[in-house]
Amino acid sequence: MTMQPLPIRTTNLCKTFDDPKRGVVHAVRDLNLECKEGEIFGLLGPNGAGKTTTLRMLSTILAPTSGEAEVGGVRVSDDPLEVRRRLGFLSGTTGLYPRLTAREILEYFGRLHGLDEAHLQARVEELLDTFTIRPFADGRCESLSTGQRQRVSIARAVLHDPPVLILDEPTTGLDILAASDMIDFIQSRKEAGTCVLFSTHILSEAERLCDRIGVIDQGRLLAVGSLEELRVQTGKEWLEDVFRALVEQAGSEAPADIPPAN
């Protein structure tokens, strides 16, 4: 078997926002990240650390200021449409069209992905069963509960069977049951060989799911490794302590965040 390109790879990825009122904001700085096939990678960091910006760059919603992001060996800047074909994207705040039914939504996105009609129908039926959507598949989405909506959203994200899944704080805003459904789903992807990159600020989620964790703060990737490796690196037992130690360590090494040159 030949060397497969990595599902996700970023090299010196940077994103700066030029806000006329705040000046230049460095949301992501020199981020180097590699995720392997069948791996669940958690991007862990506080709010405003740059997680969402990173995931948005990978899913081609935002253009990187400098550096490169690749999905399955395709650079996001070269062929964003090809990258989008290869990934499924889902965030905790993703909405559904209120006046369409679950089935219609799945068919709509399937057609946008260019699935041929026969394959599309088979795939939709399969997903209706996989995520137990069938009982409410033909009711308008405005009448669904949060958990039901979440299941439709997940089905939508994996409709085209993407080799890479990018989930931006997927459990945010979900109740306990829906959140645990989501966690089950992420775990099930691992068995399917999908590469899952997800961001969270909930430590227990990361602890439970991730093969490897990347700790990110103020746009910098502070450390990458399995939970065990991070424990060894910091000498702490609990992920909370590991996280704090890493942030403090970074704070003492690098000078405090310099106000942007203006």
Partner: protein, 685 residues
Amino acid sequence: MSPTSTSSPGQQTWTLWRCEMRQLLRDRRALFAGVLLPALLYPLLFWSQGKLENVAEGIMAEQELTLILALEDVDADLSAELRAGLEASGNVTLEDLAADRDASSLWDTQEPASTPGDSQADPLTLARLELLGESHALLAGRRSTIKEDRHEFRVFFNVQSDESRTARGRSRDVLRELAARTRKARLDALPGGDPGAHLSFESVDVASDEDKSGAGLGRMLPLFSLLMILTGGAFAALGAFAGEREGKTLETLLVQPVPARVVALGKYGAVLCAGLATLLINLISLGICASRGLVEMPGLSEGSAGLPPSRLLAGLLFLPACTLVAALLSLFCGRARTYREGQFTLFPVMLISIVPSLVVLRPDLEASLLLCVVPFAGPALILRDGLAGQFAILPTLLMFASHGLWTWLVLERLKNLLDSERTLSSTDLTAEAGQRGLSAGHGKTWAFVGVLSLYLIGSRLQQWDLAWGLALTLWGLLPVLTALALKTRPTPTRPVAVKRFLSLSLPSGAHALGAVLLIPALAKLMVEVYLPFQSRILPIPQSVLENETLGLALTHLSTPTLIFLMAISPAICEELFFRGAILGSLRRGLTPMRALLWQALFFGAAHASLYRILPTAGLGLLLGALTLRSASILPAVLVHAGYNAVVVLAGLERLSTDGTWLSTWGPWLALPGLALLALPARKRD
């Protein structure tokens, strides 16, 4: 990976369009506004109007009226004709005046010399009221006292009673008709016929009925069509763009393998379709109403005014305007981040599209090659002329081409807007938005306080003593206000130093010099262009002028004192407050243009004169722009001082503005001045 066949952009556009249309058709509000309302509006309107008219007429005809006739002196034939006419006019009971009543008061011409208060006591009125009795009107007639074969009539009625007024109206109509008939009969009986008939006049329109009604329709159809497209398209556009963003589905859509162009095009197609559907439904409804005779419409009514279908095809000439207005609607709603924000954009779109189309009301304007490329004006004119039967191929082709181009440009803009970072990253910046709101609010509040204190305190001080009051206002009040505004400014996440907040740093030499070079042109502009203009539009009353000429009260001051008081002090103190504190707050909360406009408005208002608000606000705009450009208030201070000095000294005739080198050639200095200002700013601190 699943076997995906890459779908073509055409298929994707079709998928998107279908999805949008499906959602729209399930939206009850959209259906109501886009289908039901236009279809039912006219029939309902005209039906109810017709009903009301019928009811009113019925009530009028059915009213039982009693009329008393006092006609004993009248020619028998005439009397009989009059009675017949009155009886034919409706439900009328005719009674003769009882023989025992005294009818002499009816012909009494003496007007009661009464004041309004005691009209009841007037014996003549009382006698007439008595004669009228329970009846609704009294019709009296007699042979003329001047000529035997003439008659005169009088109708007595009471304006307070509805029936009485109706009785008056009916009697009048019958009498008029009778008079006309008699007159014609008598004229015809004259030897040689009607002596008044030696000259007759009639105007004959040689345009065909089609052309006439087409022209009538052409004056109204452009406005009407645009309104209908906007009505129907608004819901589609709000749902497809603003609603999609608010419902957080746009992000999902943008990670699908669909080019932004396709997304924009599919959604735009839905907006256009919805708008056109509404227009079509409305036109059909209107046409049906017109053909049923429910409404008089030029060009749509049955019969003489009907337009042949071929002529109605001219309506297609307006399609380019429809596509453009739908695109604009999409663009404006595409900017909006929420449904609510989108609703506010509808009014500007309405103005942008409808105002130019009103050119059709000017019959002297023709669809020239130049006019036909003007958005909305061109199609409107070509539609008007087309409906009236005139068709020029070249302007029409140019109009189609230019409007195609406009639409394409708008859609390109829309495409770029959909995934613009401004709108997508906004969710990350909620705290920033709050901070900006605080800052803008702070700026406006303090500007308001400043203007109010200048009114209340400053004007009192200046009434007490003009020179000292002015000095106190400028050096006492304004610095205090500046300090207070500075003290209370909201602390942002990244604090801004006082020096930077008030723009106190030194500007680059080029900018300072450039600003100074603007002064002569500015003064000339004020004296020679603006003042004559204002004297035509809004002349300053003499009383206000005398009151405002500060100079008159200050003529005793020496020139240096005057310059210090009227030029240097306002320049420093007003700039510190308006361009320093107020603009400092506003520009951290608003876009630069809005911040400029607000501070200029307050600066104009602070001068407490309706007649000077325009020039002072204009000056404020320029000074604000200079401050933002050079990141320093110094250029503004220089320009303000120089301008004030020139205007005050010229006003007191201590400086001649005629024929000197400065007044002739000075304004040209503005050119190098602007060039210097265009140089890049010095790097900010």
